[in-house]
């Protein structure tokens, strides 16, 4: 609990804390708005223009606009509508086609938008029947240009049953005026609400930053301290990932983590979610970070290859393929065929993945390399370094406008500069020059990225395993993973059935 309050030694969390100081203004702003329970019409006001195209799309049978709009019918209408039908209306397309099949044209052709295709209504749900059976007593034409589009018009027309004569009488122009009037009134308010508030808000925020500014950052710096406990906290502070085992993998092997996520997104068909991970991997690769550990790199290549062997959008497929190619190029360039001491520690990855529940079986390598495992743990989590660098950078930004000689000559700020530029890093209890980077491997330090021979692949067989895999057969062994077998290939988790 106090960790959340006190912030951790890694400063990003503190930054979140500081940026969230401003809640009050935010809330003022929200509460000063119309209460959402006023519903449909009021919330529609400023957005009419934006909603129209959506509604058109909806009518054309694409994924519909959010259904909740219906729940917000004015109360006098809502009580006659059978809400359950709406509430349970399945995903857009079905709903939309129902709507299209709905035929109210004969009675009031003017209700219909032009692209409504009158069809037989036999298949419509029961409320549609009711709806059609209503004696239509409404004056339709006035709805043609109604800002709510055909939908609202249709709804109102349908419920104009005899008991609502009074309502019907005021239904035409007056109603519209009411609506428009309200809309106008609201347009007045939002103008204040949005633009003015936006400005006021920015002003206030600026003030606040100027006031609380710099030395919040400097104080945060204190918190950058990496005490032992803090390092343990680190993983818990990360957002969006709750599986502790995955968290550990992320901490120790970011690229493996990203690859796992990428693969699972691709497998789930969520290419939009997959793209950021792909981007991350490409960044890592271009920095040469992906290939610092050959076994991890190989694991990534294998996994990537598997993931695009299955269904994947063309764009992702080609990007992944070029990524695989560049990883291989870099791998082969940095670990030439006859080099000694290429660390192969794939079994550790499998151990961790199995612990994470990602595999049920594992490759039959049994002699765990204890020593290298220990070394692995000595390796500080890379995210630490990143966050230190981020914080240092932010701190420098905040004192950037201080041109006094003292601040220019400050050794502490110089250290921050070097931390930001990753010329120094924290290792264990020391600050070390990156050039003296701890290599746990008997390989030259990766301070400068090794040259990549772009043609190296031409010399090699196109079926890459590891160029120097000391365990032949390993690369062909595929443990059972979360793979979707062929029999479920037709099965899309995005189908409306699963909604």
């Amino acid at each position: 609990m106090t960790d959340a309050l006190c912030g951790p030694s890694n400063a990003l969390q503190s930054f979140q804390k500081h940026t969230s100081v401003d809640r009050t203004l935010q809330q003022d702003r929200l509460t000063s708005r119309q209460s959402p329970t006023q519903g449909f019409r009021s919330s529609l006001g400023p957005n009419v223009g934006a909603l129209d195209p959506e509604f058109d799309a909806f009518q054309a049978g694409h994924a519909g606009p959010p259904q909740p709009a219906f729940q917000h019918f004015p109360p006098h209408l809502a009580q006659h509508a059978p809400p359950p039908h709406f509430a349970q209306a399945p995903a857009g397309p079905d709903w939309a086609s129902d709507f299209q099949r709905l035929n109210i044209a004969p009675a009031h052709p003017t209700h219909m938008q032009q692209h409504h295709h009158p069809q037989a209504s036999s298949a419509a749900a029961s409320w549609h029947q009711d709806f059609l059976n209503q004696p239509s007593s409404m004056q339709a034409p006035s709805y043609a240009g109604h800002s709510f589009g055909g939908m609202a018009g249709a709804g109102m027309g349908a419920y104009g049953r005899p008991t609502y004569q009074g309502f019907g009488a005021m239904n035409g122009a007056p109603m519209q005026q009411v609506a428009n009037g309200k809309q106008r009134a609201e347009e007045g308010v939002p103008k204040f609400d949005d633009a003015a508030f936006e400005r006021a808000f920015e002003l206030a925020q600026q003030d606040m930053f100027e006031q609380a500014d710099l030395l919040t950052a400097l104080e945060e710096l204190n918190k950058m301290r990496l005490s032992r406990s803090a390092r343990e906290d680190l993983s818990q502070g990360s957002v969006g990932e709750t599986d502790p085992v995955l968290l550990r993998i992320r901490e120790k092997r970011p690229q493996v983590y990203i690859t796992i996520k990428l693969r699972s997104e691709i497998d789930l068909g969520k290419s939009a979610e997959a793209l950021p991970y792909l981007q991350d991997l490409e960044d890592l690769e271009s920095r040469g970070a992906l290939t610092t550990d050959a076994s991890e790199a190989k694991w990534c290549v294998d996994t990537l290859q598997k993931s695009i062997n299955r269904e994947a959008p063309q764009e992702i497929k080609s990007r992944v393929e070029s990524l695989i190619k560049s990883i291989n190029e870099r791998l082969m360039s940095s670990y030439p065929l006859l080099a000694t001491g290429v660390p192969i520690r794939q079994e550790n990855i499998w151990d961790e993945l199995r612990a994470a529940g990602y595999t049920t079986d594992r490759s039959p390598l049994q002699h765990a390399d204890e020593q290298s495992k220990q070394k692995e743990e000595v390796n500080p989590p890379r995210t630490d370094q990143d966050e230190m660098a981020d914080t240092a950078g932010r701190l420098l930004e905040r004192v950037a406008d201080n041109t006094s000689e003292k601040f220019q000559n400050s050794q502490f700020l110089e250290l921050m500069r070097r931390l930001r530029d990753r010329e120094v890093r924290v290792e264990g209890d020391k600050m070390v020059e990156v050039s003296a980077q701890s290599s746990n491997f008997p390989l030259p330090p990766a301070e400068t990225l090794p040259e990549i021979d772009r043609k190296i692949l031409d010399h090699a067989v196109q079926e890459f395993g590891m160029p120097i895999d000391s365990e032949p057969g390993l690369s062909h062994h595929e443990p059972t993973t979360d793979e979707v077998t062929d029999q479920f290939n037709f099965y899309s988790v995005d189908s409306s059935y699963h909604r």
Partner: protein, 355 residues
């Protein structure tokens, strides 16, 4: 001005001995306290300058130091690993006692000035702990639920203590109250309460809360405390009027204020150390004839300038953040010591810089 260089260690706190006018303790940390070892120096003031009589190394950074009030050779340190250590400077190397109860960095230690058998520590783990040097475990734990940067016993009562923390609150605990659900907490004052509106100044609008880093009890007026922190303002409060807001607000520091301490000689004089690399001397305006500067131009008054206090001088010799400052209890009023991240300890007379 005397100077000592704590080579390789960046100072965090400095304290004059309550027994000797020539002895100073300094808590310092390698790598600006981010990672690495700590070292506590015991410095002697000699005619030939400052010499290190002794130093002790610790595994983790040190953030604060406090002299024992009951034993002239003992001092406490606050460690980044959550430990509180008691060193005896007549021994070599190891602490005579070490308590490891805090879960996070300990940021303050303070000895009880009245009942000299207890001391306290406060930590980022959101607790204040009360200790007896002869007991192996803490006597009491007072939760603040917030990163507690500073805690201190009242110099006027054996059982009253105070703390400030990152939630922008000043808390007063009275150990005589039953340890009920409130855990001895008797007062919880928001530091960011705006000062009372008054004639000639616009009412100050809401002041955002900000982390409070330091505070101190006035040595003469037993209900007055000064606080300071990230919002760069030094404020004084009267705990008899907890809802009245600050009785003085002293703006001037350009960055966060890391340490504030009242003079042991004069009831209205404060000394502060800040991230703007300066140490400044202030009056809070409570003494006769020192205020009044602000009366000339009533219309343009800044609502956050309050109470008639003002800056009386500044010392800008530190070249990195100034983090620690303390008054000498003996001799002529005005002697003080300061330390900072420039690895320097300066001993100086603040009368020389006062206007």
């Amino acid at each position: 001005m005397l100077e000592y260089r704590t080579q390789g260690y960046n100072g965090y706190s400095v304290k004059y001995s309550p027994f000797f006018d020539s002895r100073i303790a300094v808590a310092a940390s390698a790598n600006f306290g981010l990672v690495g070892n700590g070292r506590v120096y015991v410095l002697g003031l000699t005619p030939g300058g400052i010499v290190a009589d002794k130093f002790f190394d610790t595994q983790d950074s040190l953030f604060d130091v406090a002299w024992s009030e009951s034993h002239e050779n003992q001092l406490l340190t606050a460690g980044g690993d959550g430990s509180v250590k008691l060193f005896d400077i007549s021994l070599s190397e190891f602490p005579v006692q070490s308590w490891q109860e805090h879960a996070r960095e300990v940021f303050a230690v303070h000895w009880n000035l009245v009942a000299k058998d207890t001391f306290l520590s406060s930590s980022w783990d959101g607790t204040i702990k009360i200790w007896n040097p002869t007991a192996s475990a803490s006597l009491a734990t007072l939760p603040t639920h917030s990163c507690t940067y500073s805690a201190a016993f009242s110099p006027h009562s054996p059982s009253i203590l105070s703390s400030v923390s990152s939630d922008s609150h000043l808390r007063i605990f009275d150990l005589r109250t039953p340890a009920s659900a409130s855990n001895h907490l008797t007062l919880n004052m928001p530091i960011h309460t705006p000062p009372k509106p008054r004639m000639g100044a616009a009412a100050s609008v809401g002041v955002p809360p900000s982390e409070a880093l330091t505070h101190d009890w006035n040595k003469y007026r037993d209900t007055i405390l000064a606080t300071a922190g990230v919002d760069r303002l030094i404020r004084t409060f009267d705990i008899r009027a907890p809802n009245a807001g600050p009785i003085a607000v002293l703006p001037g520091h350009e960055y966060a204020v890391r340490r504030v301490t009242w003079s042991p000689h004069l009831s209205d004089i404060l000394l502060s150390a800040s991230y703007d690399m300066t140490c400044r001397v202030w009056t809070d305006g409570s003494a006769m004839g020192v205020g009044g500067l602000k009366q000339e131009n009533m219309v343009q008054q800044d609502p956050m300038v309050f109470g008639g206090g003002r800056e009386m001088g500044r010392m800008g010799r530190h070249t990195e953040f100034a983090t620690g400052v303390d008054w000498c209890l003996f001799g002529a009023e005005g002697w003080c010591a300061s330390t900072g991240w420039d690895e320097r300890v300066l001993v100086w007379d603040c009368r020389a810089i006062m206007q």
